[in-house]
């Protein structure tokens, strides 16, 4: 059973109050979208959950273990994995070596043959088997994103946070990423997706968290969030905000980039 409990989380950077009493819970393998304008605190929240940043106050429990004061490697050991907004593959290591790192770090297996077999399965799943011996720096941006997702599969976590998994990805690779997300979720992993691509978020997630300058202003289903006037005002905007003429009939992607 997956249970993440975030209670009254606060984080300040100098005078910038980035997270203000943020509280929410995740129970079971939910698929959650975390949205909000730039500077809303999404990445800071991810960094706090991952252990990279310590909160000023508040608590985070994962499956009954308090994790807000632990180091990132300890949080990963307890079962929370993440990707980064800007892809951070190990560029001067081969694709296979990139996948070996989490498997060996968490001691999932001590037999390299077993780890290799698992890594090859992951690469085949991501349609990257032929690239196994290439250095990660030789991959395209989209392939590096896939590699990051592959590393998370090797980690086998309870909860995954994907920070902008769709940004700058070719539509063909997007299909693979969608497939990855759905399959991992079906296998019992809770997933939090941070993205500005609303069509992707709305098609994948059954629950949305909306942050606005440190405040969690909504925690509901996509339909209710879309209709929430507070969210519309803070983030989604109205049709006129996009077209200026009311010509568009649906919410566009990436409304707040920049």
């Amino acid at each position: 059973m997956i249970e993440l409990s975030v209670a009254r989380l606060n984080k300040r950077f100098g005078g910038n109050h980035v997270l203000k009493d943020v509280s929410f819970e995740i129970k079971g393998p939910e698929m959650i979208g975390l949205i909000g304008p730039n500077g809303a605190g999404k990445t800071t929240l991810t960094n706090v959950l991952d252990g990279a940043v310590k909160p000023n106050s508040g608590t985070v429990y994962l499956n009954g273990t308090r994790i807000d004061q632990l180091a990132p490697f300890q949080v990963a050991n307890i079962g929370l994995g993440r990707t980064f907004q800007i892809t951070r593959s190990f560029r001067r290591m081969t694709v296979l070596e990139n996948l070996y790192v989490p498997a060996l770090a968490l001691g999932k297996s001590h037999r390299i043959a077993e780890i290799h077999e698992r890594a090859m399965e992951v690469l085949e799943f991501l349609t990257m088997g032929h690239l196994r011996n290439e250095y990660a720096r030789a991959l395209s941006g989209g392939q590096q994103k896939l590699l990051e997702l592959g590393r998370l599969l090797m980690l086998d976590p309870n909860i995954i946070i994907l920070d902008e998994p769709f940004a700058g990805v070719h539509p063909r690779l997007l299909d693979i990423i969608y497939g990855y997300i759905r399959r991992v979720n079906e296998n019992g992993t809770a997933i939090i997706i941070i993205s500005h691509q609303m069509d992707s978020i709305f098609s994948l997630c059954k629950r949305l968290l909306v942050l606005n300058y440190g405040d969690l202003i909504a925690d509901d289903t996509p339909d209710k969030v879309k209709a929430d006037p507070v969210v519309i005002k803070a983030y989604l905007g109205t049709e006129e905000d996009y077209t200026g003429t009311g010509q568009s009939s649906e919410i566009q992607t990436d409304p707040s980039h920049g």
Binding site: D50, A52, A71, P72, F73, A76, N77, G81, R82, F84, R88, S89, F90, R91, R92, M93, E97, Y100, V101, P102, L104, A105, L106, E121, V122, E124, F125, T127, G129, H130, L131, N133, E134, R151, L153, L155, D156, R172, D175, I176, G179, Y180, R182, R183, V184, N187, T189
Partner: protein, 401 residues
């Protein structure tokens, strides 16, 4: 290839006969010494991404530890009554009092006075050299641990400056503590084999080059073997991940603190051991051994050889040591005397600059890559062709279990 190089150096002292035998063997020994330093620094900087400029300081710590140990501690069957001494069993551990650089004819140390009093009737034994070397290695490791802990949060230029500061502080302290370290005069040490050694029935004197040649060579082989094993283990994988992206490595479960400290301790111990052995080979150690110039030579050797490959760094160090010695010979061009004792360093600097500009990963790794990874590109292409033939469209969603 590697085996051929090892066999060549194993046999070299026995077939070399082109003259200047002792000098050439000496260059080999110093080459091996620099190879240990350059390769261990490449493990620290090239593999783990920890650009420390304190490597020669660890070397100096090893050298000074064994120097002080062998200079101040002795074992005597009789108490001197003059020195600080500790009884153990039938013997006494004598701690000689420091007298700095004062002439022994004016102010003798307590042990010399006791020896005069005994008039040759008591035999005082020096401490074993191997114990001094082991202590040097241990002290290097302890300081590696401390520095590793102190620099945990430092990266790139900050780490380089911090370790440079540590190195200079150590050098200044050794220079200043004249009473204990004898300052710039340096401390003399017993030779590696002070009483000579007999190997396979052949007696070698303490000045023979073959015993120290093989001691340094086997130390180099030991260090390279250890680093090869480490680089192929999870340690090697994790420190490279650490170099690539510390935050990402931590997020994937790597205890980055542990591996950062471990790599400092291991490489510091290697440098300290090399320093201790080299000190016993040249039989004197001075603060100049820790000068920043020495560190820059090690860095340059590793960079020219190949900083991300410790074997390349070691080979680079040996080749450069030989090249620098060969370039000592001055020559005439159209009646103009070129003083190579000065110009050889210009040549060295130029090679370094050209390497950094045109072969950032060193001169040897492209060759090594050609032999070890030359097949990868064609394999990737061939495999992609097979995959494309097998997969008409986007592969269906696979399983994570």
């Amino acid at each position: 290839m590697g085996l051929a190089i090892v066999l060549f150096f194993m046999a070299f002292p026995f077939f070399y006969s082109a003259g200047n035998y002792d000098y050439v063997m000496h260059i080999c020994i110093i080459g091996f010494f620099y190879a240990i330093l350059a390769s261990s620094w490449s493990m620290l900087a090239g593999y783990a991404g920890q650009f420390s400029f304190g490597h020669m300081a660890f070397m100096g710590l090893g050298a000074y530890t064994t120097a002080l140990f062998c200079h101040y501690l002795f074992i005597s069957p009789e108490p001197t009554g003059l020195c600080t001494e500790f009884a153990f069993g039938d013997y006494y551990l004598i701690l000689k009092n420091p007298i700095g650089v004062t002439s022994t004819t004016l102010t003798q140390d307590c042990l010399s006075q006791a020896m005069d009093n005994w008039n040759g009737s008591v035999e005082v034994k020096p401490m074993p050299v191997w114990l001094g070397v082991m202590l040097g290695s241990l002290v290097g490791g302890i300081f590696g641990l401390l520095i590793g802990l102190l620099v945990l949060r430092l990266r790139a230029a900050y780490l380089a400056l911090f370790t440079l500061g540590f190195s200079e502080i150590l050098r200044a302290t050794i220079s200043a503590e004249i009473m204990i370290t004898r300052g710039q005069a340096g401390i003399e040490l017993p030779s590696l084999f002070e009483n000579g050694i007999t190997i396979f029935g052949h007696a070698f004197s303490k000045t023979d080059k073959i015993p120290p040649y093989f001691v340094m060579f086997f130390l180099l082989l030991g260090c390279l073997a250890l680093m090869t094993w480490l680089s192929r283990s999870r340690f090697g994988l994790f420190v490279r991940a650490l170099r690539e992206d510390e935050d990402a490595a931590a997020a994937l479960g790597v205890n980055t603190t542990r591996y950062k400290i471990l790599v400092f301790v291991i490489t510091s111990m290697m440098a300290a051991t090399a320093g201790a052995v080299q000190a016993h080979y040249v039989t004197i150690v001075t603060p100049n051994n820790i000068m920043i110039l020495q560190m820059s030579i090690v860095v340059a050797m590793a960079v020219i050889g190949g900083v991300e490959n410790f074997v390349a760094a070691a080979i680079g160090a040996i080749l450069i040591e030989f090249a620098l010695e060969m370039l000592r010979t001055s020559f005439n061009i159209g009646g103009v005397e070129i003083d190579m004792t000065i110009w050889r360093l210009v040549f060295f600097g130029a090679v370094l600059m050209l390497t950094l500009r045109f072969a950032r990963n060193g001169l040897l790794p492209p060759l090594i890559e050609y032999f070890t990874r030359g097949h990868v590109a064609s394999e990737t292409t061939a495999q992609r062709t097979v995959d494309d033939a097998d997969t008409p469209s986007v592969r269906p969603v696979g399983g994570s279990e």
